[in-house]
């Protein structure tokens, strides 16, 4: 059985994770909507036009929503419960599901965050976030 974390051959996803391996948050850019297309794909999921251009993103954003995982239901993520899983709204637009690595009690909706890079559950490097000064 293949490793369940192995990315299937889906070119825009492969490209995202290759950039992540270099600690660069990069995404397809829709010129018409002026926003990154996340998850990365071949067309904009808002206007449906093909995307060809990619942009590197700032890695800054705000906490859009978050939950605190109190049960250690998996060890694959390499996180010790309680840990924060959050949707982060990037300053260029678009949202990422990710972690906020700070003390759960310090995290609030709307808090500014910035990307940090971490070893993922497989050979991937994954974007996580930490609380930032406004």
């Amino acid at each position: 059985m293949s490793n369940p974390w192995d990315p299937p051959p889906f070119e825009p996803m492969v490209r995202f994770w290759e950039a992540a391996g270099r600690h660069v948050l990069s995404a397809p850019w829709c010129d018409r909507c002026q926003r990154p297309v996340l998850y990365p794909r071949e067309l904009c999921n808002r206007c449906h036009e093909p995307v060809s251009d990619w942009r590197d993103l700032s890695g800054r954003g705000t906490v859009y929503a978050f939950g605190v995982e109190h049960r250690q239901w998996t060890t694959a993520a390499g996180l010790e419960a309680p840990y924060v899983v959050a949707l982060v709204e990037l300053e260029e637009g678009g949202r990422l599901l990710t972690n906020v690595v700070d003390d759960p009690a310090a995290v609030t909706v709307g808090a500014p965050v910035e990307v940090v890079w971490a070893a993922g559950p497989d050979s991937r490097t994954v974007p996580r976030f930490r609380l930032a000064l406004p």
Partner: protein
Amino acid sequence: MTGLRGASAIVGQADMVSSTGVLDVWGRPLHSAVARAALDDAGLTFDDVDGLAATGTLMASSELGEHLGIDPRWTDTTMTGGSSFEVLVQHAAAAIATGLANVVLVVYGETPGGDRQRGAWSEVPYWLQRDSPITEWEGPYGLRQPLGPYALAASRHMALYGTTAEQLAQIAVSTRQWAAKNPDARLRDPITVDDVLASPYEVAPLHRLDCCLVTDGAGAIVMTSADRANDLRHRPAWVLGAATRHSHALLVSEMPDVTTTSGRQSAKEAFAMAGVTPSDVDAAMLYDSFTITALLHLEDLGFCDKGEGGPFVEDGKLGPGGSLPVNTNGGGLCYTHPGMYGMFLLTEAARQVTGTAGPRQVPGAEIVVAHGCGGVLSAFGTVVLGSERT
């Protein structure tokens, strides 16, 4: 738009659920038993069935037809998660209205409780056990499924609207009051708001008692045309409106706004087709995978404004004797939740609207809505049932 209004009715229904959470029959024998019970309820037989719907396996309706020995001329295996059965009612109503089928049987049964005892159950949902966009894109962050996405929705609803954990807990309390009237419900003992808040966090802000059950259960419904419905054993539960909408599948990062579901559109269209408004609804069966799920449905169906769900539920109006009876069988929180609860929204809605809900009957229930939610607040089906065809 009148659409499918009054063209078909639910004329038979059955649930098979145990208060232990575990049934002593599973797999195909469970499906055939619940199918037979629903047909018996209608006064029909397997030979009458010419439309078949089932979901959840590769060729679900074909596999079921093979097992039961039914060769239908209309078939449907639509999979939208927990809302599949509301969506299937919409499809079946259209098939009956256009003459593609006359007697449609819809069957569901899963047994996670018994499967766990038999060593055939995993806490990690099957959709996370293979390569897919969800394992690749959202997998590395330890978001527990399906709870995690609902906790995200709850956190933002609390932050935007001031909704409190106490208000969410009141939904569990009111639902438990209904469950006390249902001998097959898994959880029947009364609880308080404090009990909910004292139960351990699963994914904060959701406590254990904010979460649905994992239990065995099966259900089936039989639908037929207007001309045939009036000649059967029971009063028909008329399908007055049915509509569907989905915004994403299993990636919560794809949800446009985690506090507003696309069920807002399915509900609006179903109510318009039925020619009713939320104030006409006598009871509502709202998919309650979690307390926050039911709260979002109350807002998105228009029982209260967006953001007002917390204050709306606070006085216990969802419970017995309240002004908006919700999930009168005890819901997914207290009755049963085998995985795709939407079937039980329909069976209870049909009972209420035909006056056969026994000790939990809502007096004079004429309009009852069943609102299914599948995926992670992703896919919706709204069905409006009426005691009269017009």
